[in-house]
């Protein structure tokens, strides 16, 4: 149990996808102007990440890994080079399913989240989560915890940044720094704060 808790904390804080691996930055800059939209988008990332990472883990382990076809008498087959194209396919398909389900059963939620859902396909945080899972060869349970943790960390980071950006609109800054430049500097400061989590281990 404590192993999973440790993995969750590490994925959410120490190895925060947005602030220490810089994943999903384009979205991060685009939708962090208001806390409300950031919260909605963060929730969507959290949900998709929690499902797609274990899903990709299963596909990788059962179909693509070297030796996965041994039961069929083909132990030599190694399809892992297809991992990238399959992962992005799974993510795109899953995002589409989520979009249709939410649209059908939760129309109110769809109106708030609708425009962001298709963007999740090209969010590098989500593909990155799946690629890290393969690189670190997580088991199914670990993949599920890692997916939830990293999604939570990403959502947390974007909400913090949105809160700061809302206040910064009232700040008087040099012309060239306004907007994008200042956002980068603020993100650097948040990231510096997250460096403080380094070395935390729950055993």
């Amino acid at each position: 149990m404590s192993h999973y808790l440790d993995l969750f904390v590490r994925a959410a804080f120490v190895e925060n996808l947005a602030l220490s691996f810089f994943l999903g930055m384009c979205m991060f800059l685009a939708v962090s102007r208001r806390v409300s939209t950031a919260l909605g988008f963060g929730t969507a990332v959290f949900a998709v990440q929690t499902i797609t990472v274990p899903l990709n883990q299963m596909i990788h382990n059962l179909l693509l890994r070297k030796g996965a076809w041994a039961w069929a008498g083909l132990p030599e087959i190694d399809l892992s080079f297809l991992g990238l194209i399959i992962s992005i396919g799974v993510i795109a398909a899953f995002v589409q399913i989520v979009e249709m389900t939410v649209d059908r059963y939760f129309p109110a939620l769809f109106r708030t989240l609708g425009i962001y859902l298709p963007l999740l396909t090209v969010n590098c945080a989500i593909l990155g989560g799946s690629l890290f899972m393969v690189e670190r060869s997580y088991s199914l349970g670990e993949a599920a915890v890692y997916g939830a943790g990293s999604g939570f960390g990403w959502a947390l980071a974007i909400c913090v940044l949105a809160g700061l950006r809302e206040k910064l609109e009232y700040a008087d800054v040099p012309d060239g720094l306004r907007g994008l430049g200042l956002t980068f500097v603020v993100m650097g400061l948040i990231s510096l704060g997250f460096v403080g989590f380094a070395g935390i281990e729950l055993r």
């Binding site: 685009a30 590098c124 890290f132 690189e135 040099p174």
Partner: protein, 220 residues
Amino acid sequence: MSTSALRALARPIVDDNPVTMQVLGICSALAVTRRLDTALLMSVSVICVLTLSNVSISLLRNHLPRSIRLIVQITVIATLVTVVDQLLRAFAWELSRQLSVFVGLIVTNCIVLGRGDSFAMFHGARASALDGLGNGLGYALVLVLVASVRELLGSGSLLGVPVLVPRDAGGWYEPAALLLLPPSAFFLIGGLVWAVRSWKTQQVEAAEPVPEAAAPEPVR
């Protein structure tokens, strides 16, 4: 090469730089810039993928129904990236291991999809190739600048060759360890954006708080 072609190539390098102006492809620009050699390798990979994907998408553009264009584009890009990834693993194993998942993440690099969808879908193969090359070079320029600063001041070397000999190796230079940490990349790119916008003042953003809907969202 004619002047208009040259201009198409040069425009994305400073005036319409993918990183500092179009806000595309930030993720990898920040992540691989700890050392110059990984940044160079990443730039070359992105330039290859971007040029080839722009050409392929431009050649396919008249046969693509609008509703499925994104899926086709993603498949084209993912195929090219898989090829680059396998080549790097075969011929540059050490460096490709340091780049870790970031080569794979070129698939979701917004520059590639953004240029494919907003430029190559409407222009011929030659123009698209130039656009891809130009944007790739603009991206490479930012990467190399940031990586040079981080490696030179952070570990006192360039491309692994010691330039400012650090104190623990018998030299005089005290390495700025902050520059090896992730936050420094944010500060450097923020500073770079500031510098570019002070020079090209037409890029400065409007002072009034923009309403959500009117704000220009980057093309993904």
